[in-house]
């Protein structure tokens, strides 16, 4: 640096470098944000792309002759329902051979395993159908569902394909006969779980999550509000209330799997509560949601200006009358917002529910919080683990259902905040 340069010149000389540095920092920042948003986009795109296949389900509509020789009214609910369905399908396939076992199996494999039970339930409900011909619509089995949705590439060599040429030809005959349709897959929401992807649905999981969240709300909401009011409005500032406060903050950061261990050892091991029950799940989730609700409630109570309290006290209200009559109602929107966000977190929580056994395979939905059940996130985990190809798109679709619930809950919380938020 030559002494002849003035300070102004020195600054001028370094200015370009300093500006470059600023631009680099900005570019890095934009890059980081773009990367994060790109990840979110990638996540949602792959899930939607994979999940959209499960939004429809390939169905077959055939004219079934309910053969009195196979199905007799006096032997219901037993009967050869599978043979009747197979015969109905074979009627649409030219050259189908039902004389040997191999041929029968090939044809019946097109229909879902649930088709015969669908027909059985119809006939049991109305035995007069025996001897008649009715139109029956039922799901096709998973490989054919994948074929019709274009997920099985016909160009791959036969040996590497899940369906051989003869099977594809048979199915094409059904398509040509106009028997194949792809209606919306309502079974995804209203069926219980099944080993067969084309029949599996989320009803059990939805009921389980409903009971667990209800239990969680009934326990955590009053306890959380009570604790928050006491800590914020009444508790003397001493070692004990300090301890409780530190404790709540730490509890909010304890790994969720540890709550699962607590539930397993205490609720199931020591108290003997039933395994896999949404009630136990809800109890565990309540303990996890409690800190969230307490922290949100305290923030909401703090936001109510002291003038409200002082005015009420000045008019002769007792401290509890002040809190329950004036402060709490004013803080309620904030409390509800926090509670909904806490419940949304609880809805997505998986690990503690796995430990208390809410990942059982169950083909019926829980009718009370004490029945064994799965929950939405554990069902996703179960399906993600299933080897059948059809479960990949079902898992994505189940995730989309879960995300929809979370979006609705969070939107509700935001709307509540917008609608009732008061600036003092």
């Amino acid at each position: 640096m030559t002494p002849s340069r003035t300070p102004m010149q020195q600054v001028q000389a370094s200015l370009a470098r300093r500006r470059r540095k600023q631009i680099t920092l900005q570019v890095l920042g934009i890059g980081a944000i773009s990367a994060a948003i790109l990840m979110l986009g990638l996540l949602l795109t792959t899930l939607t792309l994979s999940g959209r296949h499960a939004l429809t389900q390939t169905h077959l509509t055939v004219q079934v002759f309910i053969d009195p020789a196979e199905i007799r009214a006096d032997r219901l609910p037993r009967g050869g329902f599978d043979d009747v369905v197979t015969a109905a399908i074979a009627a649409l396939i030219p050259g189908a051979d039902l004389s040997n076992r191999e041929g029968r199996r090939e044809v019946s494999a097109i229909s879902s395993n649930g088709a015969q039970f669908l027909l059985r339930d119809l006939v049991v409900a109305n035995p007069a159908l025996i001897g008649q011909t009715i139109a029956l619509r039922f799901p096709v089995s998973d490989p054919y569902d994948q074929l019709f949705k274009g997920l099985i590439d016909r160009a791959t060599p036969e040996a590497n394909r899940r369906l051989n040429d003869a099977q594809i030809a048979r199915f094409d005959a059904l398509v040509a006969a106009g028997a194949v349709s792809t209606p919306l897959n309502w079974g995804l929401l209203f069926n219980a779980d099944s080993r067969f992807p084309e029949l599996a649905g989320l009803r059990g999981a939805l009921m389980g999550s409903f009971w667990a969240l209800l239990t969680c709300f009934v326990i955590a909401f009053p306890l959380g509000i009570g604790a928050a009011i006491w800590l914020e409005e009444f508790a003397p500032r001493n070692r004990i209330s300090d301890l409780i406060e530190v404790n709540i903050n730490n509890l909010a950061a304890v790994p969720s799997v540890v709550f699962g261990l607590l539930a397993l050892a205490v609720f199931i091991g020591w108290f003997g509560l039933p395994r896999s029950a949404p009630f136990v799940g809800g109890l565990t989730l309540a303990l996890m949601t409690l800190p969230t609700i307490i922290i949100a409630t305290r923030a909401a109570l703090k936001a109510v200006p002291p003038s409200i309290r002082e005015a009420a006290l000045g008019l002769g209200a007792s401290r509890q009358q002040v809190v329950f009559g004036h402060v709490l109602p004013l803080a309620m929107p904030g409390i509800l917002t926090g509670t909904i966000i806490g419940l949304a977190q609880a809805l997505g929580e998986t690990a503690p529910l796995l430990l208390i056994g809410m990942n059982a395979f169950l083909t019926s939905a829980a009718t009370s919080p004490f029945d064994a059940s799965t929950a939405l996130p554990t069902q996703i985990f179960l399906w993600a683990d299933s080897p059948e190809r059809g479960f990949v798109s079902r898992t994505s679709a189940a995730i989309l259902v879960l995300l929809t619930f979370l979006i609705v809950m969070n939107a509700l919380a935001i709307a509540l905040r917008k609608r009732f938020e008061r600036k003092w």
Partner: protein, 458 residues
Amino acid sequence: MTALAFGILLLATIVAYALNRHAASRLRARGQPLHSLVGHHAGFAALLVLVPVLVLILLWLGLQGPVISRLLMGGLPQGVLDGLDTGAVQLIEAEITSIAGGRIFGTPEDWKLAAAARLVDLRLMSGQMLLLAVSLLALALIALARHKVAPEFRARQSFESIVTGLMVFASIVAVFTTVGIVASLVFEAGRFFAIVPIHEFLFGLNWEPQIPIRADQIAAEGAFGWVPVLVGTLVITVVALVVSVPIGLMSAIYLNEFAAPRARAIIKPVLEILAGVPTVVYGFFAVLTVAPALRSAGAALGMDVSPNTALAAGGVMAIMLIPFISSFADDALSAVPRALRDGALALGATRAETMLNVLFPAALPGIVGGVLLAVSRAIGETMIVVMAAGLMAKLTLNPLDSVTTVTVQIVTLLIGDTSFDNPKTLAAFALGLMLFLVTLVINVFALRIVRKYREAYD
């Protein structure tokens, strides 16, 4: 029976409320000056009935199961349980319970049928006794509450002290939860350390928890050294942090200093969405997209990438941590007093220089606290690693290899049927205790840094 008991509880509460309300208003109508409001008299009566009866019902429901089971098993004929271990005894009890529920498989022995009949009787008796006890207690409390109504009775004070008691109870539940966590972990881990020496657990280099269940089964001996599991956890945590800390900090810096307010108002909630996605979704994303992508990328480079690499699990975990780190860093940067920022700018520093040389160092303690909380999250995160990381414990630092973590082991050891008397199950509690202790230390430390720093500038 239980529903009926709750029905009685509800009815009794309403009756007590109405009775006292009526009595108090009659007193007032006669012109007597009451000490408390009518509503306080009524509320006092309702709470006086509600709380003790509810406690009675809950206690009864909690205790009747074990008591009935003990009575049932104690009343079995001599000798049928001789030489059976706990598992077999539980199986017999389950069979009797299912017979009592009307689900009979095969032809059970006569003594099982008799026991089932007795179980039905015992349950019925317990239900009837509960109803009787609830009714008697409720009646007594209603009478007591009604008896208390008098002009000089301080109903407000009594009512408020019950409410205070309830609030204190609610506050203590959080403490009970912590005590419950510590007690259950320490107790079960203690039973584990009675079987496996603690030094073997802490310093052992092998983790093979698959032990023979029956004596004649061929299986590995079982080794319970947690070092490889811990190393695996650390590898995944480091991967997650290496990815998420730069991205999180850079986004926070940009949002805090450079972004226009409108852009900030959009970007911040979008980043926050990442934090709201359930972890099981991230786990599936890792299995469905990230792991295959890494595998084919590795194949293209001629490297052998295992299907459940630490890189995939850690990378996806990083996505989850980005909003966590960026919002902590943003808060810390915003908490730096305006005077520092204005001073630096007034001296001619560019905004980047202000940020890097003034704001960032001033906010560093808060940022470190946030990163530490992210570390504790990464260590305790379960679903992503359960789905995307491996099961076999391998002592390696290579992020392309398959490693396992503490949380994965806890979940895999406890999924399925568990009984509380084999080391495999108890090992999960020992791991849980370690996990709890490690995260607790990090959390306490981090929360202290965050809070102390905030106070320094306020």
